[in-house]
Amino acid sequence: MARAASARRRIAFTIIGWAVGFLVFFPILWTVLTSFKSEGTAIAIPPQFLFFDWTAENYATVQSRSNYLRHMTNSIVISLGSTLLGLLIAIPAAWAMAFSPTRRTKDVLMWMLSTKMLPAVGVLVPIYLLFRDFGLLDSRAGLTAVLTMINLPIIVWMLYTYFREIPADILEAARMDGASLGKEIVYVLAPMAVPGIASTLLLNVILAWNEAFWTLNLSTSQAAPLTAFIAAYSSPEGLFWAKLSAASTLAIAPILVLGWFAQRQLVRGLTFGAVK
């Protein structure tokens, strides 16, 4: 390929690439911009893109009027809690399946995957009734438990694919070298498994943070995470675009940053290792 042609090509693709990227990202950008407008500017026609009176008052209002911090805390507690709980249950299981597989290991993995494919509405009624009867409706504990179960198959699978990449040879070498099971875990397995565990944690926090079926159906106010809180803006307050934008920006910003770090793991995690 000729040099000049490839340089021109590169410039052309730079323009197209940035234009497309901008378009796809625009709704998010627009939300962030609107969050700094006054309510009047937010609905102004023609729209104001950059040259308006920037204000941070929406962020203050969102917190003072709606106890925003509590919902943020709920989101953090539920997503982090369910992920950590899931890891606690999944790490031993994934380890066992990766390092001492039996003929049934594959079936177990496949079965776990199939539970993930169970549509939520299939179990909505009994879960709702059980939650009602056990007083778990609108409780952080209840939501954490449900999200743990929802994401457990993904956690097991992700960990399994990571653990399987650790050569069994190395663990055998450690055993030949006289390491007990405990020392094998501390000195050899953990240092090699930590990156995989961290990626799994990251992706599952994201998934739990954005989960919007169970959180909407099982929480109302006290335990409502951000998903449910934002949904409340759909009714009358929906007209307060600037405040909606401020609340939305706060809700998506942390997870967007985490997501950008987790982009590689996303593929592996959501395809159950089918695409790497």
């Binding site: 693709f13 940035w18 497309v20 796809v24 990202f25 709704p27 998010i28 627009w30 939300t31 937010a42 102004a44 026609i45 729209p47 031993p92 066992a96 390092f99 001492s100 039996t102 594959k106 993995l109 496949m110 199939s114 539970t115 494919m117 169970l118 549509p119 939520a120 509405v121 299939g122 179990v123 909505l124 009624v125 009994p126 879960i127 709702y128 059980l130 179960m149 457990l152 198959p153 954005n210 919007a212 079926f213 909407l216 159906n217 998903t227 934002i230 949904a231 759909s234 929906g238 909606l244 934008s245 939305s248 998506i252 967007l256 997501g259 950008w260 996303l266 395809t271 290792g273 695409v275």
Partner: protein
Amino acid sequence: MATLHTRASARLMMAPAVILLLAWMIVPLGMTLYFSLLRYNLLMPGMESFTGLGNYVYFLTDPAFGTALANTLLLVGGVLAITVIGGTGLALLLDQPFFGRGIVRLLVIAPFFVMPTVSALVWKTMLMHPVNGLFAWIARSLGFAPVDWFADLPLLSIILIVAWQWLPFATLILLTALQSLDEEQKEAAEMDGAGAVSRFVYIVLPHLARAMTVVVLIETIFLLSVFAEILVTTNGGPGVQTTTITYLVYMQALLQFDVGGASAGGIVAVVLANIVAIFLIRLIGKNLDR
């Protein structure tokens, strides 16, 4: 490695995960199955009675069911078409070297990390609002009449929102697959006299076929459960124009408190999802044997 000692401890280590998931699957599903055979409404406590397949007959013959099934298929099919085609295009674009490619990739995948309620509300209000929305302004500036998205094209509006959320997923997976394509294969094809289009059709597309299948199957699993986007935008309306199976079951359960009917609907949804799941599980299982 597979000594007796480790095998016994392996079972022990798997037990919590297996038992919990088993309980999570069997208990509620069993209850759903049981409720689906009862006449059972929360507004009429103590009136439960066995009704056999009555709920199923009622659910399946409800005219809303036909609409909901069609809506579900349209939603899933529409989003799949947009994301797979758009995702392939974006993946091909992001596979080209250009300045700032890394940043553009971050921009493109960002929508996936936006929670469904936020993206639905942002699209509904600030973009698709018939008067103050950005789309309306663009249409008027170009001399067209603005579209009242949620009144005139409610299902399409939801399809667009959901497709925007899932476009990054398809892009990222197809891009990953694209980058795993052996460069020498493309060069060999070039030596064999294949032009850019033939190279795409004969080399790239077959290579992407597997990844596309994965995208289709996994998205289908998630799209069958689309809920928040409908709840915060149309509430299933106008009428039942945007009611999907998932939403129909939700309405029966938590708005009409018809436990029996909702359970029957839930079982129908499970059966529908299983049809897709069988294919997906087979595909992933094949991959596991590697």
